[in-house]
């Protein structure tokens, strides 16, 4: 237990970094993913093709490769760091933002597929009935289609968010001070593998299990009865 009290500040700081990574990447992935889904669902073949290529390429690449590429490729070789070079926290900021970029790019592909599958659960008859009633395209979307699509998509979106929370550990590959990096340090310093492992496993269970149960409950409550 002394290990926990000794390291408690660092543990909470590391999990706070995990939460920050998750939140920023989630917002970015939601925006980019919805844009991609719109591209895949649009009647323009060119946009369809770009969206499909993006999703197929990113879904089949390991996240580790994307994050390593962000660090070694973008930052070191091309000099695209996303932080002010003169700031004293330059490296920390740069690594954090590159990790958020990598996680956003990767998760957006899964958000796109989720949104697309949500739209596909809406029966075609709904849109046809809306059109025959004389609703415009915008009204159709806002009143009939999107509410049903979002309600169908809650549980898979929850799964994507949980997966994102677990994937933030991969950001430790480029030195972001989050949970996995701290776990490695603590084990190397204290050599209490079982205890340290339990702390971090418990931490992630506390982060993911309530989220999963919340989205599950919400999804069942808001499911469209057909």
């Amino acid at each position: 237990m002394e290990i926990f009290t000794e390291y408690s500040d660092q543990i909470f700081a590391a999990f706070w970094t995990t939460i920050q990574l998750t939140v920023f990447s989630a917002v970015g992935a939601l925006v980019l993913g919805t844009v991609l889904a719109a591209m895949r669902l649009a009647p323009v073949p060119m946009l369809n093709w770009i969206g499909t290529s993006y999703v197929n390429i990113v879904r089949n690449t390991p996240l580790t490769l994307i994050i390593i590429f962000a660090s070694l490729g973008l930052a070191q070789t091309l000099g695209i760091t996303m932080a002010n070079r003169r700031s004293p926290t330059f490296i920390i900021d740069s690594n954090f933002r590159l990790a958020v970029l990598g996680l956003t790019v990767y998760t957006a592909a899964f958000v796109c597929e989720t949104v697309r599958s949500g739209v596909n659960t809406v029966p075609l008859g709904q849109a046809e009935a809306a059109r025959s009633l004389g609703l415009s395209f915008g009204q159709n979307l806002a009143i009939v289609l999107l509410p049903q699509a979002f309600r169908a998509v809650l549980i898979p979106m929850g799964s994507v968010l949980i997966a994102l929370t677990k994937n933030t550990t991969i950001a430790s590959a480029i030195g972001v001070a989050e949970a996995a990096l701290l776990m490695k340090e603590m084990i190397e310093t204290t050599a209490a593998v079982l205890f340290v492992g339990s702390i971090f496993a418990l931490g992630f269970v506390i982060l993911t299990l309530p989220l999963g149960l919340l989205f599950g409950w919400l999804g069942k409550r808001m499911a469209v009865a057909r």
Partner: protein, 293 residues
């Protein structure tokens, strides 16, 4: 109605012109972005022959890439075998009529779905190192296999549960009407049929395993991403090296995913046997407590 979808009606003449205009604008924008990327890479000297030529030498492939591919494939193959075994045991446990077994299996499955794979790999690696359970040559491999087995075993347990629950209820009912015990029903009637319906999803899970071997990068496991960075640092060509490794992995994974989708469509069309579970299900990792397929 051809061309109609939930969102858009079949395009009329004005809509067709508008779609062509949008396509044209998109092509211009994409070309502009591609040109910007190209000139940026060129300005940093990433497109010179010196950066890309090493990939034509057999030396680079033999020294760096092949050991990486070997590591990835070994870890993936062993993990899949163990994960299948573990997954079937836990899945059947979750379906058990005995409350105690069901409860223990549920806790184990939800726990291993909630903990990140990297945490499990780090834990296993240092556990094996501290207690000298493996020779140091195989420590990283053992850590990677343990992490992958535990996580994918839990996911496969959920897939097994979904597969058995998707079977028509009459199968189980007929079996008990014939006087078969629960165990006999599982072994002789339900599981064999469930295996067919689970095949496409299991192939998608193989893709997940292949991708997750890259997480072993952080416990010094020799796999493709690590070897890509090794190539990059010794020949000074990080971007080309990572692009080549990415192309290799994307090709293999995309091939497997396409095979899974094709298999699912074939099984769906066949009149015999149960309907297959959906191969391209959005995110098989995911929320503890939420369905996997």
């Amino acid at each position: 109605m051809t061309g109609a979808s939930v969102l858009f009606d079949a395009p009329g003449p004005r809509a067709r012109v508008r779609n062509h205009v949008i396509s044209g604008v998109t092509v211009v924008v994409v070309a502009a972005v591609a040109w910007v990327v190209y000139s940026r890479l060129d300005a940093k000297g990433q497109l010179t022959a010196a950066k890309w030529e090493p990939f034509l030498t057999a030396d680079l492939w033999r020294t760096y890439v092949l050991p990486g591919v070997q590591g990835t494939l070994t870890a993936a193959a062993v993990s899949i075998v163990f994960a299948l075994a573990l997954g079937f045991v836990l899945g059947v446990g979750r379906l058990s009529t005995h409350t105690g077994i069901r409860w223990v299996s549920s806790v184990i499955v939800e726990f291993f779905r909630a903990v990140p794979v990297l945490i499990m790999m780090i834990f296993a690696y240092f556990l094996y190192a501290n207690y000298d359970l493996f020779p140091s040559k195989h420590l990283a491999l053992a850590g990677v296999i343990t992490g992958l087995t535990l996580y994918n075993g839990a996911v496969i347990a959920e897939i097994v549960r979904a597969g058995v629950n998707a079977l028509p209820r009459g199968q189980g009912e007929a079996a008990s009407a014939l006087g078969l015990t629960w165990g006999q029903t599982m072994r002789a009637i339900l599981l064999p049929q469930a295996v067919t319906s689970m095949l496409p999803v299991l192939i998608s899970q193989v893709v997940v395993v292949l991708k997750d071997t890259a997480i072993g990068y952080q416990i010094t496991f020799v796999e493709m991403v690590r070897q890509g960075t090794a190539v990059g640092s010794s020949y000074g060509n990080y971007i080309p090296a990572l692009i080549v490794i990415a192309l290799l992995m994307i090709t293999v994974n995309f091939g497997l995913s396409s095979f899974a989708v094709w298999l699912e469509q074939r099984l769906r069309q066949s009149k015999r046997g149960p309907a297959p579970l959906e191969a391209g299900a959005v995110e098989q990792e995911g929320a503890p407590g939420a369905k996997v397929v």
